[in-house]
Structure formats: structure tokens, C-alpha cells
């Protein structure tokens, strides 16, 4: 384990060093360099993103495309990496900020020097040419709820979980879910917005309590990545798999066993592979001087007709339709 981490960090060092060497000759051949900087390297989510970045590199062999990221989830380390990359003169950066505020300064300076900046999961980032979001939060919440309603047959008690009440996106998802459920007068929301703190065990205890208080509950809509695991375990242990519906944000690999057993009805997510490709595609368009317009096709699945709005700063906010809802039969297409 230790060795593989060492290898990973040395691989990063090599990548960072070769950046210095490669950047100059590459630009001489008019092949530009785009580097993707993720929140943390080595976790499944960003490993999956790297497969997208590598795919984009294969499609654009003349360009110098790579992905780097800090070994731990630390915004200061990410800042350091971005600073180093800007100093080596990379042409474009595709950043998934750990903490958008911390990166504002360096991204602003990089933009002044003519570096193209593209961000993801940071719709409040002011210093960026374009921020890319996989989907509209309201659409996503409504889609999760629609899947839940379909499983519940449009009637029965249901409840919602959020990571925390302060999590803006989670509240948007369940809010849109509640809005959608109004289409079904038979659906009754009980004890909503339970906080999970993204802790599978705590979520499990809370789900047990809800099952006890409402023995006739029919549905759960959850938000944080671990929620489906906690609620799924409570449903499965109670022998209610297939009788109580559960639709929430989750990752295919961790959820696989519960999807197979029927304890989780469906999971929703966006594919980081496609998001990585979309960021690089936008960066490439911008390097070529092309304008990003409303309804444009980025050439990436789920981003064939993007919505373009003004962003938090001078840049653009590009919203795709990259949401994925996977169930027992389809999750195997997205194993990460």
C-alpha cells in the first residue's frame, strides 16, 4: 500500500516535471497542453474521471493532456499544485476545486496571463472562463423523485435524507423532489430532510427509527453518497427489500450488492468520466478560440446540447444533461 502511494506520488512528480519539458516543444508544434486538477487522486470517483481524461488524450494525440491531484483531500495542497502548473505555463487548466474560494486568487492571476481556466462542481467560482455542471439540480431532484414515485405506484408515505441542512445542492434536490411529488396526491411526505452527515451507520440508525415510527412507509429519497448504503442496509435487514422503495444519489460499485438484492431501487449520479471529457472539450474549444453557445454539442455523451448561462463571475456556466439513473439491470455499465 505504502509502495503504491509512493509510486503514485512519484508518478505525479514525473508528470509535473515532464510538464516543464513537454510544454515548450509541444506549443512549438502547436499542440497545446491541458491539465486536469482533481480534488484528490486515488479515490474511485477521480480514477473514473482519469479514464475520461485519458480517452480525450487518445482522441487528441497532438495535445498534451493529463490529470493530477493531491494525495489527500486538502485545499492547500491543491492550491500548491495549481500554482506550480501555472508557473510552468500550461495552456489550459481544468480544475475540480476542493474549495473554490481558496483558488480564486491563483486562477485570477492565471487568467491574466492568458491561461484558459475551466472548472467543474463550482458554480460559485468567479475566476473561471467556464464552469461545467453535469445537470440542473432541480431536474435531477425531480428525476430521482419521479423514479421513486414510479416504484411506489404514486402513493404511500415517503421521506427524504440530506447530507446536512447546510448542503445547498442536497436541499435543491429534495426540494425539487417534493415539488415533483405534488403531482401524486397519494404521496405523503413524512419527517422530511433527515440529516445523514454522509455516515452510513448514522443513516442506518435513523432509517431504522423511521421504519419503526412509520411501519407503512413506502419510499426514501436520499442525497449524500453513503445514504443509500445506510438506508439500504436497514431495508434489507428488515426483510423489506422490494417492498420499500429507495432512490438516491450513490455510486455503482458500493451500491452493487444492495441493487442486486432489491434494497436499493435505483441510484442517481453523474459520470465523472464524461465530466472529465467535457471539461477538456470546453478547454480545447476555448484554446482554438471557438465560442461556446447555448445548445452546443461538446461531443461528449450527456453534453450533446448544453445550456449556457452567465456564471458567477465573468465566465460562463455550462449545464449538461449528464445525469444517470441506474438500477439493477443497468448499473453494470458504470462500474466505478
Amino acid at each position: 500500500m505504502k509502495i503504491s502511494t509512493l509510486l503514485k506520488s512519484s508518478a505525479f512528480a514525473v508528470a509535473a516535471l515532464s510538464m516543464v519539458g513537454v510544454a515548450a516543444p509541444a506549443s512549438a508544434q502547436d499542440g497545446k497542453a491541458i491539465t486536469t486538477v482533481v480534488k484528490i487522486s486515488g479515490i474511485p470517483w477521480f480514477d473514473r474521471m482519469e479514464t475520461g481524461v485519458n480517452k480525450f488524450a487518445e482522441q487528441n494525440p497532438e495535445m498534451d493532456i493529463r490529470q493530477v491531484g493531491p494525495a489527500t483531500a486538502d485545499s492547500a495542497q491543491q492550491l500548491q499544485i495549481v500554482q506550480d502548473l501555472v508557473a510552468t505555463g500550461v495552456d489550459a487548466l481544468a480544475v475540480v476545486p476542493m474549495d473554490p474560494d481558496i483558488l480564486e486568487g491563483i486562477l485570477g492571476r492565471a487568467m491574466d496571463r492568458g491561461t484558459i481556466i475551466v472548472t467543474h462542481e463550482a458554480d460559485n467560482q468567479a475566476n473561471t472562463h467556464a464552469d461545467i455542471e453535469a445537470f440542473d439540480n432541480a431536474d435531477y431532484g425531480a428525476a430521482l423523485n419521479e423514479r421513486l414515485a414510479q416504484c411506489m405506484g404514486g402513493e404511500g408515505k415517503w421521506t427524504t435524507f440530506v447530507g446536512s441542512l447546510g448542503s445547498r445542492t442536497h436541499m435543491q434536490w429534495v426540494g425539487a423532489g417534493e415539488e415533483n411529488a405534488k403531482k401524486y396526491p397519494g404521496m405523503e411526505l413524512v419527517d422530511p430532510n433527515n440529516e445523514s452527515f454522509d455516515d452510513a451507520n448514522g443513516t442506518y440508525e435513523k432509517a431504522k427509527e423511521i421504519l419503526r415510527k412509520h411501519p407503512d412507509i413506502k419510499g426514501f429519497q436520499t442525497s449524500a453518497g453513503n445514504d443509500v448504503l445506510g438506508v439500504g442496509r436497514a431495508i434489507e435487514e428488515a426483510g423489506l427489500a422490494g417492498k420499500v422503495c429507495l432512490v438516491g444519489t450513490g455510486l455503482p460499485n458500493p451500491s452493487a450488492a444492495y441493487l442486486d438484492s432489491g434494497a436499493i431501487t435505483a441510484i442517481g449520479f453523474w459520470d465523472p468520466q464524461k465530466a472529465g471529457m467535457a471539461m477538456n472539450a470546453v478547454a480545447k474549444f476555448m484554446l482554438e478560440g471557438k465560442e461556446i453557445t447555448d445548445g452546443m454539442d461538446l461531443g461528449v455523451e450527456g453534453y450533446e446540447s448544453v445550456t449556457v448561462k452567465p456564471g458567477a463571475g465573468k465566465g460562463l456556466l455550462i449545464v449538461g444533461n449528464g445525469m444517470v439513473l441506474a438500477d439493477k439491470d443497468t448499473y453494470k455499465d458504470y462500474l466505478f
Binding site: 500500500m1 505504502k2 502511494t5 484528490i40 486515488g42 479515490i43 474511485p44 494525495a71 489527500t72 441542512l165 419527517d191 422530511p192 430532510n193 433527515n194 440529516e195 455516515d199 452510513a200 451507520n201 442506518y204 440508525e205 435513523k206 431504522k208 427509527e209 423511521i210 421504519l211 419503526r212 415510527k213 411501519p215 407503512d216 453513503n226 448504503l229 442496509r233 435487514e237 428488515a238 426483510g239 423489506l240 417492498k243 460499485n253 458500493p254 452493487a256 450488492a257
Partner: protein, 348 residues
Amino acid sequence: MSAAGTSHNQAAANAGPGGGLSGLIAKRPEFVTLVLLMAICIAVTIANPAFLQPSTLIDIGRASVVTGLFALGVFVILAAGGIDVSFTAIAALTMYSITLLVQKYAPDLSIVVVFAIAIAGGVFLGVVNGFLVYTLRVPSLIVTIGTQYFFRGGLLAFIGTTWIMELPGEMATFGRLSLLEFETANGAIVSLPVYFLILPVVAVLTWWIMRRTLMGRAIFSLGGNPEVTARLGYNVKIVHLFVFGYAGALAGLAGIVHITANRLANPFDLVGTEISVIAAVVLGGARITGGTGSVIGTMLGVLLVVVVDNVLVMVGIPSTWQRVFVGAFILLAAAFFVTRQRKFKPAK
């Protein structure tokens, strides 16, 4: 101190109001915990009679195991006049490393051996704490904040950050073994897992160590007055190593229980729960300054915290208010204890 002390306290309890309620509270603070616990259960039952069903008891029993194991370790350290905030990091580090090792090299390893390795690993990390506290002569709070960061940082930086969803062999099946199982009216199955038994066994062991052995005497003595303890001829270094090692052992045990129950090993788990564990021990009547406390009080304190955590939805407190409610409750209960203890210091 031991048997005689208990029967004397029992006599005080029987004396009732005539013997002085405040004297009783000072001598047997866990009595207050018990009254609080019963008051909450009655209040919840009035608010929602659905609380009174066997599955509630089982769910609370199950939810108490990991917190209870941690709390017993903290109780022993508090009794010796120290404090530990690194136990959750010890649990996370041992459980995750062992799961990785078992998965890679010995997927068929017996669960008993897994527990043994976890305990050994926990003892080692705990002894590191004890050694640092003793040799550096730095308050144990500072040392264990440091080791918490160190153990957790080491885990995430060098060992791994990915969840292990498929626990190997017996680690996966152990969490699902049930002691008793029944079906409720709506067809849901309620089961009490076998791992629940670990908590009473460890509680009795801890009680025995604290009340029946020389080490127990040394621990209370060290918490009461460290200088006198050294002069009495107790080996203060050994006591330090023992209390932190014991807490480490329980943390290692709790870590494995946590993952087998949870069916996944998540290296980000556990750390962050230490405050509610310490609150449980203090609510059980142990003084944060050391020298006091009891196993039964600690267990009642754990039940109190777990019950409060598990009835908020039952009572119908909206989730926006739940944290306010828990915080206010802990504050009130703790303030009550502290003022009682200040007014009526137990005769030594």
C-alpha cells in the same frame, strides 16, 4: 472502596429523601442518569406510544455497542485523571488495515483471530499514547489530539482512502449472525445480532478490573491524587501504559464490530464521534478531572446518549431542531452534574 463501599452506597440509596437526596447524588451520580433515562423514556412514550415495542429495545441495544465499547475505554482513562480523543482514530486505523490484510492474504481467517489482531493493534497504538503522556509529561488531551491526527492522517495517506464493500469471509458473516429474531406485524424482521454480547462481557471485565484488582485501585488513586499514588509505591508508568493500552484494545475491538455490523470498511468513518462518547461517560457520573466514575454509570450514560439520538424522529422533532435539542440536553444534564458535585464533594 470495593464491596464495602458499594453496600454503603446502597444503604444510602435505600435511605431515600431522609438520608439526603443531595448526598445520594454525590455518592451515586449514576442514579441521576437512571432517573433522566427513565424520564426520557416516559416522555417519549407519552409523545408517541409506538416507542413501546420490543424492536425499539433491540435497536437501541444494537446501536449502543460501539459507543459503549469506546465509552468503557474513556471511563478507565478518565478515572486515571487523563483524557483520550484518539480512540476513534485507533479504531479506524486498525479496522481498515486489518480488513485490507485479511482481504489480501487470509480471506478465510477466523473472526476470533481477526478480533485478536485488532485488539493487539489497538493495545500497541494505545500504549504509544500512554508512553508519550508519561514520558513527555504533557496533558493527555494534547498528546491524543496529536496522535488522533497522526493515526488518521497515516491511515488516509499511506494505507488507503477507498471503501471496502466486500468484507472478506467471516468478517462479512459475523455481523449478520443473530441471537434472536422475530417478525413484526408489517412483515419486517427484527434481529438482535450476536455481536451485541461483546458489550456486556467487556463491561463486566472492566468492572472487575476497576473494582477487584490492584490495578483498579491504582487507576482511581492516580486520578484522585497522582503524587500520593507515586509515594504509595504504585508504578505510575505502568498505570499510564495500562489505561491507554486498555482503551486502545477496546477501540480496536469496537472498530471491527463497527465494520462487521456496517458491512463495509470506510476509512473516513468513526473519527468525529469522540465528543459524544466523552459526553456519555460524563453524563454517567464520571468527573472529567478524574478519580471517580463507575461502569454502571458509564453504561447508563451511553444508553442516555443513544436513546436521545434514537427518539428525535419518534417524538417528531423536525431535523432542523434536532441538534439544538441534543446540545441543550447535554448542556443541561452536564450542568446539573457539575453543580451537584461541586456542592457535595464525596467524602474520601
